[in-house]
Amino acid sequence: MASPARSGRMLLTAPALAIIVAFMLLPLLLMAYISILEKGPAGGVRWGAHTVEAYVAFLFERDLADELVLNTDYLRIFLRSFWLAGLTTLITLAIGFPTALGMALAPPRWRTFLIFLVTVPFWANLLVRNYAWIILLRNNGLVDQARHAVGLGSGPLDLLYTPVAVLIGLVYSYLPFMVLPIFASLEKLDWRLVEAAFDLGARRWQALRRIVVPLAMPGIVAGCILVFIPGLGAFITPELLGGGKALMIGNLIQSQFGAARNWPFGAALSFALLALVLLAMLAYLLRYRAPPGAER
């Protein structure tokens, strides 16, 4: 039924597409281009002067004799970011999988409400949710007070402004991203398969490992991508809970547009982050034929 009126209707998508192309796609292309320009003497860039210096600067710096020497400052930040994002993914998976399983096995009329309860914090302000953890973690904050009240040691724990605090904040911030896609996979699971496994004498652990986990794999992988990627680019959590002592890639990017004034380097870091995201999405698309999280 492709009447002229119906194909003409596609034109209705033009305004939204135009806005996104003009103010998102073009800026991303410009950013990619700026990452291969020379930085200007007082900030900004030198147009027409192309160089890969910004990418070289990920690992090297130039010494006084203009020779490249390994600079481990940024490398440490990259490793910390990957390490923290990876650990966040593992911990959210460990908490998120049993939670999603519990939700999927809850009575159906409860399920929509449980999904609602998981999504509310996602919409609540990220800044404020991280601030709540400052109150809990700071010296003589609520965690310390609770610990003293039950007699678990005295004196402050000194948790705030450490990588552990950042980890706690990241897990808390991104947990819904892990629970929801796993739940979506589990909800569609045919539980008769699990019953059959039990009837054939499988133990609980075997049924989980051989039936439930393999069938929930698309959701598990989607959850891992949806937690790892924003975790890697996190800015608010390390800024508030790391207090400058646990910088991540996001903070390094931000500083290139503040004090450091190195736009090409900031653009190169952002572009590298974007490339990682697109690669992860592409890999997922090729493997599961649907974008991660789309089955919700």
Binding site: M24, T119, N140, W191, S270
Partner: protein
């Protein structure tokens, strides 16, 4: 209850502790915002003074007004654009629709910090002065997918026979849209509008990059306050913005579940 739920005991306890963990920090924050003590984390008595302080702070109220103006403009604009796009792809499939959906989903895929950097560079390069205008433009872009998804879901769930019946009864396309499609669509519209509004109101990272000195929003202002330190005033204003978001999400959820 499905028989399998009996096979995995202890899941109720897991669920319960999960939701305690998820909500406890938020509840602690809201409770402490009613604390009389100027020491933000030591309870001495009930008080609503800090909320009074917040409302008396002119800078904070200006930031709040900026936030409302930006969120309203961006959300209304995004909802209009998203509605048009959703009508354009209604009951259609194939490569072109997939491409449209992919472009609209772009703001959801790109990490916020990357969008922030790209937008900042773009606005500077095309010579736009950073301010309310640039913030509204940036917000408009990332609000579109949030408005698009519930509107499209509602349209897809709509019975094609209703619109065809209107056409059979000699309704013009405009009349069909006004008398049939729109009345059925409004819960999706409202739901999308509210989600877009909340996403804009809460945004920090992108706004922080593209706002410039004159266009401080509430989250950017709160960030500055948190940088200075924990205080009962921050607790109060944080609780306020949390409650606004939760109220909107709850309302949007209820509207989204209205009878089809």
């Amino acid at each position: 209850m499905s028989p399998s739920s009996l096979r995995f005991p202890g899941l109720r306890a897991v669920l319960a502790s999960f939701f305690v963990y998820l909500y406890l920090p938020i509840i602690v924050l809201v409770v402490l915002s009613f604390n009389a003590s100027p020491q933000a984390t030591i309870w001495t008595g009930f008080s609503i003074d800090w909320y009074g302080r917040v409302l008396d702070n002119p800078d904070l109220m200006r930031a709040f007004r900026n936030s409302l103006l930006i969120a309203t403009t961006a959300a209304v604009g995004a909802t209009v654009l998203a509605t048009l796009a959703a009508l354009g792809t209604q009951r259609r499939q194939g490569g072109a629709v997939d491409a449209v959906n992919a472009v609209i989903a772009l703001p959801l895929v790109v990490p916020e910090i990357v969008t922030a950097v790209a937008s900042l560079l773009f606005f500077i390069m095309i010579g736009l002065r950073l301010g309310l205008g640039t913030v509204i433009l940036a917000h408009l872009v990332f609000c579109i997918p949030f408005a698009y998804l519930p509107i499209r879901a509602r349209l897809e769930g709509m019975d094609a026979a209703l619109e065809e019946a209107a056409a059979d009864l000699y309704a013009t396309p405009a009349a069909t849209f006004r008398r049939v499609t729109l009345p059925l669509l409004w819960p999706g519209l409202l739901s999308g509008l509210m989600l877009a509004f909340i996403i804009s109101l809460d945004d920090f990272v992108i706004t922080y990059f593209v706002s410039g000195p004159g266009a401080t929003t509430l989250p950017v202002y709160i960030f500055g306050m948190i940088r200075i330190g924990v205080s009962p005033e921050v607790n109060a204003v944080s609780s306020l913005i949390l409650l606004i978001s939760i109220a909107f999400v709850a309302a949007s959820w209820v509207i989204g579940r209205l009878k089809r």
